[in-house]
Symmetry: C2
Subunit: 268 residues, 2 copies
């Protein structure tokens, strides 16, 4: 299989650097082909702006959506953007690996998403009608591919627990797992998270690699997070709110994950 690892850490001699190397080796040893987008090493341009479109008319106001659509449709994207889109098309699975900085991904990775997810590629795909609101959340350009996060955090696991002060890790990652990965169609696997990274001696590093190794071995077996697809009946369109009979009364991020009963029903 083809795996794309999008990796965002500034220092190769770091826990993240070591986990990246481990991940590549483990996947290659299992017979997979791996490409790494090492964003810091590539000096990835983090900022979405008018320079992302070749041959722009001078003086015309830059409109992020319209310019992106125009560039994508007419082969006027900068080569760095087109190259990453090609890697995504090539991949069967995509891993985003990053340290949690201020409860989200580093800016350089956020800028990768903003620039690579062009209009017509990452969003703005499919028809909007009375029954469909675009090909998104379970459908889209990247449907049929798998995605997984590898995340490191300095804080303790309890700080990210259901009543932890930082907020539960699943909720902190929802805008990425649901909003960035499920949106253009990925099947999203549960994340692999390492906490308290300041305390990583060799014994602990070996334990971390063991657990990560099993996750990588199971990349094609692990069940994805069962988010509700947008256009398959769980949502009223165009409001895009959960239908009244789907987990009635439940609100918030977790409501968009199908409970076990509904998963069985959907299979039957």
């Amino acid at each position: 299989m083809h795996v794309l690892l999008v990796y965002a850490h500034p220092e190769p001699q770091s826990l993240n650097g070591a986990l990246k190397d481990f991940t590549v080796k483990r996947l290659e040893a299992a017979g997979h082909t791996v490409q790494v987008s090492d964003l810091y090493a590539m000096q990835w341009k983090a900022t979405l702006d008018a320079d992302d479109t070749l041959e722009r008319k001078d003086g015309e106001p830059f409109h992020p959506e319209r310019d992106s659509k125009h560039a994508f449709e007419n082969g006027l994207q900068t080569p760095d953007i087109a190259r990453e889109q090609d890697k995504l098309r090539w991949a069967d699975a995509v891993i985003l690996q990053f340290p949690m900085w201020w409860f989200s991904m580093p800016a350089i990775l956020k800028g990768w998403v903003e620039r690579v997810y062009a209009y017509g590629f990452g969003y703005g795909v499919g028809e909007h009608s009375d029954t469909r609101w675009g090909n998104r959340y379970g459908e889209g350009t990247l449907a049929g591919k798998r995605a997984m996060l590898i995340v490191t955090a300095g804080g303790w696991e309890s700080h990210y627990s259901p009543r932890g002060i930082n907020g539960p890790i699943d909720d902190l990652l929802f805008p990425i797992q649901h909003g960035i990965l499920y949106y253009p169609g990925f099947d999203v696997l549960p994340p692999y998270v390492v906490y308290r990274t300041g305390r990583t001696d060799e014994t602990r590093f070996s334990t971390i690699c063991d657990a990560l190794g099993h996750r990588l071995d199971d990349l094609w077996k692990t069940l994805p997070i069962p988010f509700h697809p947008q256009n398959a009946g769980a949502y009223d369109i165009p409001e895009c709110t959960l239908r009244a009979d789907i987990t009635p009364g439940e609100v918030g991020f977790a409501a968009h994950v199908a409970p076990p009963a509904l998963r069985v029903a959907a299979k039957g």
Copy 2:
């Protein structure tokens, strides 16, 4: 009063550009002094890396926390970072204004947070002991100042409602409002959010400005979101989990906002 507006949109001739100009005028007309950090116009460096520390030893691995601490303590930060910290110290209120891109702030603004919030300034402040876990979440360098978000979103308001497919807006903004603003001490006001920005004619723009104007007029009167302070008794330390008798059983982001009963008790 002194207001710092940190603004992240690439095009002056946009809804965001117009709202930025409106905000500056309205605040100045009320007698406030305003500074604007127009990140795109400043060509703000979005990516945190070793170049953020002056006079680094060649060949030594870059460690984001340690290098940031060393630079902050020894006057070795790059001038762009030090300048933004000075603006934050100067400000009585800080407004972050941005378009919601992929359910979070644009990369350029995320990179402003990552670089300006140095160790010893934005985090790593105060003692860690059996009763305190640093000066954070309600205490810290920026305590006593107010902060507010002005956010634009292309999607419909219903898509961001409690059962909307994107997730509730309050939850999407929690990592910013709680994790980035409350963390170093800001009192965080409810956000001002504009939805469905693609449909903004002159009438609607005028309505939007009216509502925003009232929010700006009330910047010093509006009650902040009553997040629980970390070190005032609501959390077990060092686990940093909500004490068992605080909204028992409640989990998730909303659990960190004091319910009305507790707010009255806290005042009494």
